[in-house]
Amino acid sequence: MSKKNQPIFDACVAVMPRGAVLDPQGKAIENSLARLGYEGVSDVRAGKVFRLTVQAKDLETARAGVEEMAEQLLANPVMEDWTIEVEPAEDDSAGGSGADDS
């Protein structure tokens, strides 16, 4: 099935370690912030952000696809959580508005 004429979506997946105990990097950064003199900073966590451009028939389909990608590869479900944002691409010259009107 060709996706040629389908609308384009911008997706953003933010992957974060689940809880401070799983994030030695976040802890080290927190200590460094304290060393810089920033007071009252806690629960610093270091994660990853992925930006993807996805072509799909509608917003729901695009979101479902990205959700699968996050679970299968982008995140490790054993120790990471993730949030997903999907929206119609601003410069979508290939297809429709991307609005989910199914």
Binding site: P17, L22, D23, P24, Q25, A28, L73, L74, N76, V78
Partner: protein, 233 residues
Amino acid sequence: MKCGVVVFPGSNCDHDVYHVLKHVVGQEVTFLWHDQASLDGADLVVLPGGFAYGDYLRAGSMAALSPIMAAVKQHAANGGLVLGICNGFQVLLESGLLPGAMRRNRDLRFICDDVFLRVERADLPFTRHYEAGQVIRLPIAHAEGNYADHEDRLDTLEAANQVVFRYVSQRGETDPQSNVNGSARSIAAITNEHGNVLGLMPHPERCAEAVLGNEDGLVLFESLIGETVRLSA
């Protein structure tokens, strides 16, 4: 025993383990390129140490999706022997052949050192020439060997007796200082439910000859072939 050493782009301990299997314990060995779909009839598959795919995304995550891993999973499901050393252990975790995941080391440093380990299971094809409770010394070299899983899954792992080696003091006791990378419950090596897949962070292939000053790793390879090869033994 026919052995296959998988070579991923970025593997760097593949030749070491090949050398031990072929020249020290005298087995038939072939390299298996990550891109192939067959194990070429190997009885034992080794996933060696290194930095497969440059450790992109997470250590082992790209390698876990390479074509040969489907064959490795099938081999494991059929009861075949699979040994993952260091980066190979990370690949086993990412591919779901073993439970859990690796975090950065507790102190965020790459650690290259000898560590003491307590043998928790001496009834596996990989460890039967060790003694249960024995303290051995093996080298480690990793930045991401800080083993983690949910507490309830760690309980399950322990209840099923799947922990094979733990980081300990020279006297064989677990303590935070000996647990060099901060691993949950000082875990250095685990096996699967059926005991035919072993993942370990230490490098037994780096201490399998007397000339290297330590043969504690050789015992693992002797266990696999069921023979003692040391002249001094």
